[in-house]
Amino acid sequence: MDLSLSTETVGDRTVVRVGGEIDVYTAPKLREQLVELVNDGSYHLVVDMEGVDFLDSTGLGVLVGGLKRVRAHEGSLRLVCNQERILKIFRITGLTKVFPIHTSVDDAVQATD
């Protein structure tokens, strides 16, 4: 299975819907997408991971890289995820403290710091 990506603007947020497997092979595509969005001036990103079947540390690295980029512009990167097996990876790496993780896109879009 490959990686699918689509974006949608909701207010001042850009929602990136990710589907499939994020691993060492597909993560560069996600990285490109995030870099492109930030270069185009989208600094408040919501990454919807509900369609993600697999996530490894390469994918985590890309998300951390995305967070660094948006923060350089006073932006934000929020995640939407309810899947226990994906959430577990964020927990064991301590990244639940780094990323705001929401249960729905609506919730993430409305969230403020």
């Binding site: 092979y25 697999f54 490894d56 540390s57 890309v62 990876i89």
Partner: protein, 154 residues
């Protein structure tokens, strides 16, 4: 029980290309399921073997090693083991059986060696029985999981 006293093994060699890591994950999970590894830990096993293979692929690419990455799946009586070996030379012997020293913070250097550390951190967090060794000839990650006797699919 398997007949004879030899351990059942499956060995996989693949060129150090990121697209083959998924294949290694699928093969490892399929063999583990057959060996009687609990369904509940197959997700973790798949992730751990993927991390180990991604790391090996990265090391082969960065060191210009042409040899393939080696994955050995060993079905024992009470446990299922996976060994992922690379041929990337390390300057000095390293033992990192305890992954606690690997903090994910270093992985913030996007795309650098930090991702290796994060991969090891994930493996250490997922797998109770893991051993990471490396020397001038390459590195080896050994992981094992208990199997449920009688649960093996024949």
């Amino acid at each position: 029980m398997t007949e004879g006293d030899g351990m059942a093994t499956v060995e996989l060699l693949f060129s150090a290309l990121p697209e083959h890591v998924r294949t290694a994950r699928l093969v490892a999970a399929a063999v583990a399921r057959r060996a009687g590894v609990d369904e509940a830990v197959l997700d973790e096993l798949r992730l751990a073997v993927g991390e180990a293979c991604s790391r090996a692929v990265g090391l082969h690419i960065s060191h210009g090693v042409a040899a393939p990455v080696r994955v050995v799946l060993i079905e024992d009586e009470k446990k299922f083991s996976i060994e992922v070996g690379d041929d990337a030379p390390r300057p000095a012997p390293v033992s990192a059986a305890s992954g606690a020293a690997h903090r994910p913070g270093s992985a913030q250097d996007e795309g650098g060696d930090g991702e290796d550390d994060m991969g090891l951190a994930v493996i250490s967090g997922l797998v109770d029985d893991v051993e990471v060794t490396a020397d001038e000839t390459g590195g080896l990650i050994r992981m094992s999981w208990p199997t449920t006797p009688g649960a093996a699919v024949s």
